[in-house]
């Protein structure tokens, strides 16, 4: 064993101590509160998505003639297929929720401020990737919602001035939903987006490791002497515990509210009530409130503002030091999002 380890170390000149040194960042004490671990939660769920996604890809056949049948096979016939599919679906839902909550936490604690502006932007790109993965994901089932959701989504991109038509063609692989569309969605969902996310996550974590986690102090903590604790093993154990809790929640959700299958996609019949997944309710309602290009451009503008928020915030604070404007804007934004989501959920059209 020793010689083998020695042989290996000659060729891979890192040992456990070095690796630990590299990753064992000091963790601020506020992270002993579990709600500050919302960054680790989407990361864990992302791993669940990769594993269950790879498993599902063993059976999934991305073509209009076979997609629905293969999903049916997974759901009804393959051993534990319904469970794996349920995990994938519910982990996606929880992941989006966790990413959003993580982002809110970062926003309201001001953790995006200098020098962490870039990491906010990377985080925002991760949110966009997650949403796109959600969109392409439910398009793969090839049920009515998949087909018409994809069609509607593609036509929304069409509304973008100048490049819209080009983007739509790129997305659908043609003027309309066709034989090539499903495989495009599949590659986006199963390869392009995950790889992009892995790279973004690496950068995200590296920046955190280099800059350290934002330190917060709470009133009752003020008399505590030490501000940090070890990542190994203390914080890691917390994350492992959270991971197990997530697995239990996912298993229960997958069992109690299993991933169902709607009617097979029918290019000739648009269903009476057509709604995207819940995380697109905001955008969907927004599109109904404003017409075509206005809605798309305004949505794009809001997204862009969110992307650049650290700089906007800095600009506000330069002008008015000590301003709480960002918090109020944040609260307003959250309220609008909740209202639009509830509105969309409550009405049929």
């Amino acid at each position: 064993m020793t010689s083998l380890a020695g042989w290996f170390r000659e060729r891979f000149p890192f040992d456990g101590d070095q690796l630990r040194e590299l990753t064992n960042e000091p963790v601020p004490n506020h992270l002993k509160r579990w709600w500050f671990c919302l960054g680790g939660t989407p990361a864990y769920l992302f791993v669940v998505q990769i594993i269950t996604g790879v498993l599902l890809a063993f059976y999934y056949k991305p073509a209009p003639s076979t997609a629905y049948e293969s999903v049916r096979y997974i759901t009804e016939e393959a051993a534990f297929g319904w469970y794996i599919r349920g995990l994938h679906k519910w982990a996606a839902t929880l992941m989006i929720a966790a990413v959003v909550l993580h982002q809110l936490r970062v926003f309201f604690t001001g953790a995006y401020r200098k020098p962490r502006e870039i990491n906010w932007m990377i985080g925002f790109l991760l949110l966009v990737c997650t949403l796109m993965a959600g969109f392409t994901g439910y398009s793969l089932v090839y049920e009515q919602l998949s087909y018409w959701g994809a069609t509607v989504g593609a036509n929304i991109t069409d509304g973008v001035p100048l490049v819209g038509g080009f983007m739509k063609q790129l997305l659908l692989g043609g003027e309309v939903y066709n034989q090539n569309t499903l495989s495009r969605f599949f590659i986006l969902h199963g390869a392009v987006l995950p790889v992009a996310m892995v790279m973004l996550i690496i950068v995200h974590l590296t920046i955190i490791r280099i800059q350290g986690v934002t330190e917060l102090k709470f009133k009752e903590q003020e008399d505590e002497k030490e501000g940090h604790f070890n990542f190994f093993p203390d914080h890691l154990l917390t994350e492992i515990g959270i991971g197990l809790v997530l697995m239990i929640i996912l298993s229960v959700l997958a069992t109690v509210i299993p991933a169902s299958m709607g009617a097979k996609a029918d290019p000739l019949v648009t269903p009476e009530v057509i709604k995207p997944e819940w995380f697109f309710y905001v955008a969907f309602r927004w599109l109904k409130l404003f017409t075509g290009t206005v809605a798309i451009l305004s949505m794009g503008f809001i997204m862009f503002m969110m992307f650049l928020w650290p700089f906007i915030d800095a600009w506000i604070r330069r002008r008015k030091p000590g301003s709480e404007a960002s918090v109020w804007i944040g609260i307003l934004g959250v309220l609008v999002i909740i209202c639009l989501t509830v509105w969309e959920a409550a009405v049929a059209h």
């Binding site: 170390r9 393959a78 534990f80 469970y83 794996i84 190994f232 154990l237 197990l244 009617a263 097979k264």
Partner: protein, 184 residues
């Protein structure tokens, strides 16, 4: 490679001197819990990837018994699959009067032929020879004491049925239209 490090890692609290029974027990329990949970999960994943069902078999109609004379043989083709030699060996009307042998040589998978004049099955690939009951008598199958696999037969009301695997090209009984309405 890191066996010397792992326990150290896990038990490196602030004061190494207080490495107690409690600590190692909790570590042991923790790994036990993790192994049980994730191990079972891995088992589920493995079961998911393993082909969903064992080879399903079904009794399929072959021929009306009275249509075959003693000594005659016919080739029954398993749906979407290999040929099976069905021969009538007795004058009775029970399954014991028939034999159904795979025509796939157990040696390397070539198709054997029934040679009536030599009263034997012959595999042209490596000169394998089987007697009428399917037992290997010479050539590679004879040396390895291999036989042609036999399929179960059943005689019901003068009809001969054979039990064959159904996982080749099987389709759902009932119309596709029907199965769609069933689902919705």
């Amino acid at each position: 490679m890191t066996d010397t490090h792992v326990p150290e890692e896990e038990t490196r609290p602030e004061q190494p001197g207080r490495r107690s029974f409690l600590s190692s027990a909790s570590t042991f329990l923790m790994f036990g819990g993790l192994a049980a949970g994730y191990g079972a999960c891995a088992g589920v994943a493995g079961r998911f990837l393993y082909p969903a069902k064992p080879r399903e078999k079904a009794w399929q109609f072959v021929v009306q018994i009275k249509k075959m004379k003693v000594g005659e043989a016919l080739t029954y083709q398993i749906p979407g699959g290999e040929g099976v030699t069905v021969a009538r060996q007795g004058s009775g009307e029970t399954e014991a009067d028939f034999i159904a042998l795979s025509s796939t040589c157990p040696h390397l998978g070539c198709q054997v032929k029934w040679e009536a004049r030599n009263n034997r099955f012959f595999c042209p690939c490596h000169n394998g020879v089987f007697d009428p009951s399917g037992k290997g008598v010479s050539g590679p199958p004879g040396d390895a004491e291999q036989s042609l696999p036999a399929y179960p037969l059943k005689a019901v009301n003068g009809l001969l049925f054979i039990e064959v695997p159904m996982d080749n090209f099987q389709v759902d009984a009932g119309s596709t239209l029907k199965s769609q309405t069933r689902r919705t």
